[in-house]
């Protein structure tokens, strides 16, 4: 009698173990089945045009974007081709693209696109078998990474703002000329990604900082280009959907003066030595939009090279990530400066915040739609 009891107990344990093992095995299966055959199949036939690709992907309902304020260029692109403005929610990996759940996926040139193409750690190794659609070429570009603060801050601390911009732009200027060194500096500062990917990112970001939406070279970094800014604001007005009627009314009435002020970056770029008189505040913080990576290399370089020290500032760089909202952090005074996208700043202002762009670091849109060429051949 006792023996059977023990046997039963043993069986129960084995049974439970088996369930646990199958459960965990199942977990791994879904993510490792990614090496699909489509990766290696040779592309044959003629590649479709951008318009045909977008229309096909939209008809299949397989256009992807992260949402959360990153989707407006995609909506504008879909509308441009008279397509329904529906997209799938992408997570922060490219697994959905890899497994063909999303055939036309959003990717930043400096981040996701590198992971899709390259073969370093974490890459999907697609190389030249993927093609891209550039938002700048499609005429729906919206400006991304900027520097912003509250409207009140530069009024109280004009010299601090100018000095901060001067030193930051000096950092950016050095970084875009020396991407290898910049990538290493960011990596040492506590990188979230591998050093290979960091270097790729540094090189791609340099292109965004030094080229405008029309492909012309920019020399005065951080300049707030009137036309590109206006296009961004116009697209915001058209595609930012706010349920709050008072906020959407406010958005409708926005002009460029409600979201940016060019005087500080002009003063910073005109200065030869970064001396603007007595600094009102010497300890300042800047909140990044995302984790430490070469996307923000200018600030890390300015920090490491002592450019902030030269102008008499002590700067703390606060990384973002996940759902940390940089607009909220700046608006409630937790930090002094922030890096965000113009669309995020505009909708935050419509929602009741009082924010002001003081420099536009990225001169063109870094968003592209990536697709596998073999899925879009005729």
């Amino acid at each position: 009698m006792k023996k059977t009891k023990e046997l039963k107990k043993l069986l129960a344990v084995v049974f439970a173990g088996a369930i646990a093992v199958t459960a965990f095995a199942g977990c791994g299966e879904s993510s490792s089945s990614s090496d699909s055959s489509s990766k290696d199949s040779a592309t044959s036939g003629k590649l479709m045009s951008n318009e045909e690709i977008i229309k096909k992907a939209a008809a299949d309902g397989k256009v992807g974007n992260w949402g959360l304020g990153n989707e407006y260029e995609i909506l504008a692109l879909l509308q441009k081709y008279d397509l329904p403005t529906k997209y799938l929610s992408e997570d922060f990996t490219m697994d959905g693209f890899d497994q063909d759940d999303i055939t036309l996926a959003s990717a930043m040139t400096y981040n996701e696109l590198g992971l899709v193409k390259n073969d370093y750690d974490g890459g999907y190794k697609y190389g030249d078998t993927v093609g891209t659609i550039d938002m700048n070429d499609e005429g729906v570009a919206m400006l991304e990474d900027n520097i912003f603060c509250t409207k009140e801050f530069p009024k109280k601390n004009p010299n601090t703002v100018k000095a901060f911009l001067y030193a930051s732009m000096k950092g950016w200027a050095y970084a875009v000329k020396n991407p290898e060194e910049a990538a290493q500096i960011v990596f040492d500062a506590g990188s979230s990604v591998s050093s290979d990917h960091q270097l790729y990112m540094a090189k791609e970001v340099a292109k965004l900082v030094t080229t405008d939406t029309k492909g012309k070279t920019v020399s005065d970094y951080g300049n707030i280009d009137e036309d590109a800014m206006q296009q961004t604001l116009d697209l915001c007005k058209k595609y930012v959907q706010l349920d709050d009627s008072s906020a959407s009314k406010k958005l409708e009435g926005f002009t460029l003066d409600d979201i940016r002020d060019t005087q500080y970056i002009k003063a910073a770029n005109e200065s030869k030595d970064g001396k603007f008189g007595k600094l009102e505040k010497t300890d300042v913080t800047i909140q990044l939009k995302w984790l430490p990576q070469a996307q923000f290399m200018g600030y890390y370089v300015a920090q490491a090279k002592g450019y902030y020290d030269e102008v008499g500032l002590k700067v703390t760089i606060t990384p973002g990530g996940g759902d940390i909202s940089e607009t909220t952090a700046v608006n409630n005074g937790t930090v002094d400066f922030g890096v965000t996208w113009v669309a995020n700043l505009t909708s935050a202002n419509a929602g009741g915040m009082d924010l002001l762009e003081i420099a536009q670091v990225y001169q063109r849109s870094g968003l592209e739609l990536v697709y596998k060429k073999d899925l879009f051949t005729k």
């Binding site: 009891k5 039963k8 107990k9 069986l11 129960a12 344990v13 049974f15 439970a16 369930i19 646990a20 199942g26 977990c27 879904s30 993510s31 309902g61 949402g67 959360l68 304020g69 799938l88 929610s89 997570d91 697994d95 959905g96 497994q99 759940d101 706010l242 349920d243 709050d244 009627s245 008072s246 906020a247 759902d323 909202s325 607009t327 909220t328 608006n331 409630n332 995020n344 909708s347 935050a348 419509a350 929602g351 009741g352 915040m353």
Partner: protein, 278 residues
């Protein structure tokens, strides 16, 4: 004068109707007071915040009324996920409990494992489920609904099976003895004794499961592929700095929870009318 007042107070205290009224009225009055302090911006002074981070109730109501179709659609999807997950999960949980109560030596160990599922955070479960259910359907809406419902289901299975198991096994000793002395069959013991005994425990489980099902539905929407639902809207609006709209969706999420809890209370009071155990 004082004596008279005292007796009136005592009379009020002993009056059943007055007791009932006060137990309803006092919480309502408290709620109204909080709302008044909120609208009057006294709360903002206490918490040292502004009307942007903590929008006024009037503005929140205004947003909801302005967008009833959008709010109704999002609320419907969240409600569907929560209710289907709750019902299916609870039924499966109960069946597991029946199985465990029938084969008690195996069952107890099995229940421990089910209980362990309860300890998995929803935040971890939701993305895994979204990944798992990618091949269910080519329609991302159906796929996402399935993944979200699955999360709610798993969470509800645990609390139901553990509670129901207790209801099925923790019998009054003399009752089981009596059944044995009647030489009752196992099935008779189950249907006449165990099953009725478990009913109050089922409601205990549901009282826990109903709020959890809403929370799981809201959180799993964060990770779903298809963009819909109250939880998703809360997140999108907070990231976009639209606090008044985010608050409006938070209010809707609260309302869904209250309605579901109210329905549960109603059903419970009908089912357990003559058999309160307390």
């Amino acid at each position: 004068m004082i004596r008279k007042r005292k007796s009136l107070w005592r009379r009020l205290k002993e009056n059943k109707v007055a007791q009932g009224v006060s137990s309803v009225l006092l919480p309502i009055l408290f709620g109204v007071l909080i709302l008044a302090l909120w609208q009057g911006q006294v709360l903002h002074k206490i918490f040292n915040t502004d009307t942007n981070t903590l929008p006024l109730p009037s503005r929140i109501c205004h947003i909801i009324i302005d967008n009833i179709p959008a709010f109704a659609q999002n609320a419907l999807y969240t409600l569907l996920v929560a209710v289907i997950g709750l019902v299916v999960g609870s039924i499966i949980g109960y069946l597991i409990a029946v199985f465990a109560a029938t084969f008690q030596k195996w069952g107890k160990g099995g229940l421990t494992i089910v209980g362990a599922f309860n300890a998995i955070p929803i935040v971890a479960l939701a993305p895994v489920m979204t990944n798992w259910t990618k091949d269910i359907s080519s329609d991302p809406n159906i796929r996402s609904m399935f993944a979200k419902t699955l999360v709610v289901m798993i969470v509800c299975i645990a609390s139901m099976s553990i509670n129901a198991f207790r209801g099925l096994t923790e019998l009054k000793p003399f009752a089981l003895d009596l059944m044995k002395s009647y030489a009752a069959k196992k099935s008779t013991v189950f249907f006449k004794l165990r099953l009725p005994n478990s009913v109050p425990y089922v409601f205990t489980a549901l009282r826990v499961s109903v709020p959890i099902s809403i929370i799981s539905a809201v959180v799993s929407e964060y990770f779903a592929e298809y963009i819909v639902g109250v939880g998703r809207e809360i997140r999108e609006n907070i990231v976009l700095g639209q606090y008044p709209t985010a608050w409006a969706y938070i209010v809707v999420a609260c309302l869904i929870g209250l309605v579901m809890y109210g329905v549960l209370m109603l059903v419970e009071s009908i089912v357990l009318k003559n058999r309160r155990i307390k």
